[in-house]
């Protein structure tokens, strides 16, 4: 049997995607909950979803929940909070060894589905709110997560650049909220947020396993019948970030050895596949123009690479650099973008970038998460291409299309973390 993908509607606003591939030894169920990012609610939703996964009515502590997962051969139930453009996204993952590999014939999948139901519909509740003990633990976790943003200097610099780029837009805000937002919550307010989230979020559910499991659709229909869902949810959509009239530069002083620079370019060009191929030859691969020129030829930095935020139509280029080389690196990055705009790149570079993307596309499906990432990203861009169809689209992208895409990018802002001095952070 070869792999296949099909979808089914659970309710008008909940869709089920089944991906069957006989080579897998695990069953994975992933729920993607999406709703417009509302800075007044982000902290409450983030805290509420984290509380669903560490204890339930049946397993009322982190220890009890963890022991249950150990008994299921190290099964996993977890949630990640994230942001995609102007949407807050919760990725809930349940995965476990498939039944044929159980040592004692257990129905691991059945137990996993029961845990999914317990996490979503039997939270650990007391006095109309989440259990206070668990609430206090998860509140501290969330506050520490917010505080720890500064620990990873590269990630911090990129997030600061995003704040500078997205001022006045929902994407400006953190997906976790602020300390103040978290401290203003109570177990009761958070519990209400949980109920609201289940009512209003768009929900896409993915299953990846070796065999089709006919019990899953009726199971999902039954458990979601418990919720009075709103008749219409807000579907995910891209919200391009407006370009500033003049590029803005923000410098923050910090007690670090190496400076960081993150440049943000925005575009009104919308063909994702052309932009992605352009970016592969400009900044993504180790043979890209930025790697070969900024790092290898000029030895200006250890890393210099880019990533494209499709939902905001913004390209981030970042590097770690000596203070004395900041201007030189900035000039060279702009120079290399100009080279792409003018078509000053070889046919070989273009073909190599294309081969690199197509090679990666052919590898989709070797892990459950790669399947889900692919189909979810296609869904959010309003497309339903298979990896093979996407490969064909990349084959059709021409040099002229690449140049046109590159010409549509304009510098919006630059964030610089400078070694030592006074602080001038981009605060929420």
């Amino acid at each position: 049997m070869s792999a296949f993908y099909k979808t089914a509607q659970i309710t008008d606003t909940i869709r089920f995607h089944e991906i069957i591939d006989p080579k897998f030894k695990t069953n994975t169920i992933k729920l993607q909950l999406m709703l417009p990012l509302d800075p007044k609610r982000t902290a409450a939703y983030a805290l509420a979803t984290s509380l669903l996964f560490t204890s339930t009515g049946k397993y009322p502590s982190i220890a009890a929940m963890s022991r249950k997962m150990n008994r299921l051969y190290g099964a996993r139930a977890s949630v990640d909070t994230g942001k995609m453009g102007d949407f807050q996204i919760f990725t809930m993952t349940f995965s476990a060894l498939a039944n044929p590999y159980a040592l004692e014939g257990e129905d691991i999948l059945g137990e996993l589905l029961q845990i999914l139901e317990d996490c979503l519909f039997d939270p650990n509740v007391e006095n109309g709110g989440f259990s206070e003990t668990e609430y206090n633990i998860k509140t501290k976790d969330l506050l520490d997560t917010i505080d720890a943003e500064i620990n990873n200097k590269r990630g911090y610099a990129i997030r600061q650049a995003a704040r500078l780029a997205y001022q006045g837009e929902p994407a400006f805000h953190s997906c976790y909220g602020t300390r103040e937002d978290v401290l203003a919550l109570t177990p009761q307010i958070t519990y209400e947020a949980y109920q609201e989230l289940l009512r209003t979020a768009s929900i896409e559910i993915y299953f990846v396993g070796a065999e089709s499991q006919p019990r899953i659709v009726p199971f999902l229909s039954r458990i979601f019948a418990q919720v009075q869902r709103v008749s219409e949810t807000t579907p995910f959509s891209n919200t391009p970030s407006p370009l500033k009239t003049e590029p803005e530069i923000r410098t923050e002083q910090m007690n670090v050895a190496q400076c960081k620079m993150a440049m943000v370019f925005k575009t009104d060009y919308t063909d994702f596949y052309t932009i992605n191929l352009m970016n592969f030859l400009f900044s993504v691969t180790p043979f890209s123009l930025l790697f070969t020129n900024v790092r290898e030829k000029l030895s200006l930095c250890y890393y210099c690479s880019g990533s494209y935020n499709e939902s905001k139509q913004a390209l981030f280029v970042d590097c770690g650099i000596e203070k004395s080389n900041i201007q030189k690196a900035k000039d060279e990055i702009l120079h290399q973008l100009e080279a792409v705009q003018k078509g000053d790149f070889s046919d070989e570079l273009l073909e190599n970038a294309r081969i690199s993307i197509v090679n990666a596309l052919h590898g989709i499906g070797d892990t459950p998460s790669s399947y889900i990432r692919w189909y979810f990203s296609e869904l959010t861009r309003g497309s339903s291409k298979t990896p093979q169809e996407a490969a064909e689209t990349y084959q059709a992208v021409t040099r002229e299309m690449i140049m046109e895409a590159a010409r549509a990018f304009r510098l919006d802002c630059i964030y610089i973390m400078e070694a030592n001095g006074e602080e001038d952070a981009v605060n929420e």
Partner: protein, 439 residues
């Protein structure tokens, strides 16, 4: 010249298979043909890492000492051929290539879904053809200097190495993998060639390849490209390491959110199968005592002493073995006391039998999947070979492990007195700004 031999090995527990080829050139090759997978991952690795700073071969009379960070430097330089950059060769095949250096190994790898044979030819060719010049060494000193500065800004890296410096008096595991800006300034093209010809000998290397590949095709390429090597009978030497810690505590300062800590407990090092067995016993013991299902974890969370970043791990290799607890805490000293008290109590009473069964089952669930994904299969085979064990030994050890084995390890091998606490906190969280070490 030896003959090439080939053996197929099947796990009696999971049914997973791999082919081991002892190649006439001196190289050991592992191949896992994985039906239904599109990607291939290949790792060509030398048993050579940052701790190998003192060595000799059958041709040397004295041990050679080399600058700290040279294994990592060599890894960077090998990516440059006489006429081109290796990335530009891989660009033609579409493979995603990389390399890394750890404490005990240097690995060159690629992943791809098309043209794996062409990529394998590139891998075997460039790793066997070094090209270093004084000019290219000087250029790389600038790039690696930036990398060192970048890792110095990583508080997680600093808290880890401060812990190692607190545990180890003289073992080179305490040295940063990339060395220092001063030590890499001593590296020359001649030294790189010397290290290359010593450690990149096929008898000291392994090729591991998994996924959409065929052992016959791999062997054909190996026959064509591998250059037979003389076994240099490489000997490594490490300074004598006393079973005591250097310092009880180290505090360092950096811009961080909550203070981060590493608590290290020094244990006796082992080698080969005994090392792997001890590692698994230590892992299971620490999971029982401190993972999310343990009373210790729950109480530390409820008392606000740690958050969900708290975890334990085992860090072991040639001449070193320690247990690490790490996380974020405003009061790492109290966390340390609680952990050490919990260990002492468990040494007296023994570990909970029910928790042992659960943790062992969970570990089995994870290890049974080791050969189920391309990357994990390729890495499992490479690591097993470099650690002197067989790829399925891990699963065999966990299957046979008893509560008594784990209690014996806990009682005989772990001494909370041999511990050091490393903390990195924000300068504003304390009065001093210079690193402090309490003897």
């Amino acid at each position: 010249m030896n003959k090439t031999t080939r053996t197929t090995v099947t796990s009696p527990i999971t049914g997973d298979q791999y082919v081991r080829i002892d190649h006439a050139s001196g190289l050991t090759i592992y191949v896992s043909e994985m039906e239904g997978f599109s990607t291939t991952e290949a790792l060509f690795a030398a048993k050579y890492g940052s701790i190998n700073t003192q060595f000799k071969t059958v041709h040397d009379t004295d041990y050679c000492m080399v600058p700290e960070g040279i294994a990592h430097f060599l890894e960077h330089k090998l990516f440059e051929n006489e006429d081109c950059d290796v990335f530009s060769l891989y660009a033609k095949t579409g493979a995603s290539a990389n390399a890394y250096t750890s404490f005990e190994k240097t690995a060159y790898l690629f992943t791809c879904s098309d043209n794996y044979q062409a990529s394998l030819e590139i891998l075997l060719s460039f790793v066997q053809n070094p090209y270093f010049t004084p000019e290219s060494v000087a250029k790389e000193q600038g790039i690696i200097g930036q990398e060192i500065r970048m890792t110095n800004d990583d508080p997680g890296w600093r808290v880890f190495f401060n812990m190692l410096k607190g545990l180890y008096h003289s073992h080179p595991v305490k040295i940063d993998i990339a060395g220092t800006e001063e030590s890499i300034a001593e590296i020359t093209d001649d030294l790189l060639y010397r290290c290359y010809h010593t450690f990149y000998n096929l008898h000291n290397m392994v090729l591991s390849i998994a996924g959409n590949c065929k052992a016959d095709e791999v062997l054909e390429i190996a026959d064509r490209l591998l250059k037979p090597c003389e076994d240099l009978e490489l000997e490594m030497v490490f300074p004598e390491e006393p079973m005591s810690v250097v310092s009880a505590e180290t505090i360092d300062y950096a811009p961080v959110g909550a203070p981060i800590f590493h608590l290290g407990i020094k244990c006796s090092p082992k080698s080969g199968y005994e090392n792997l067995k001890a590692e698994m016993e230590a892992y299971v013991a620490m999971q029982i005592l401190s993972n999310a299902s343990s009373p210790l974890y729950q109480s530390l969370l409820e008392d606000g002493l740690v958050n969900d970043t708290f975890s334990s791990s085992i860090f072991n290799g040639n001449g070193y073995f320690c247990i690490i607890f790490d996380g974020e805490s405003e009061d790492a000293r109290t966390v340390r006391t609680r952990i050490c008290d919990t260990i002492r109590k468990a040494q007296e009473t023994g570990l909970d039998a029910e928790l042992f069964d659960e943790v062992r089952k969970s570990a089995y669930g994870g290890m049974a999947l080791d050969m189920s994904y391309v990357s994990s299969a390729a890495n499992l085979m490479m690591n097993a070979h470099l650690n002197g064990v067989k790829p399925f030994d891990l699963l065999e050890i966990i299957s046979k492990m008893t509560l008594e084995d784990v209690n014996n390890f806990l009682r005989n091998e772990i001494d909370p007195e041999l511990s050091t606490l490393s903390v990195v906190m924000n300068p504003s969280a304390d009065t001093g700004k210079e690193p402090k070490t309490n003897e």
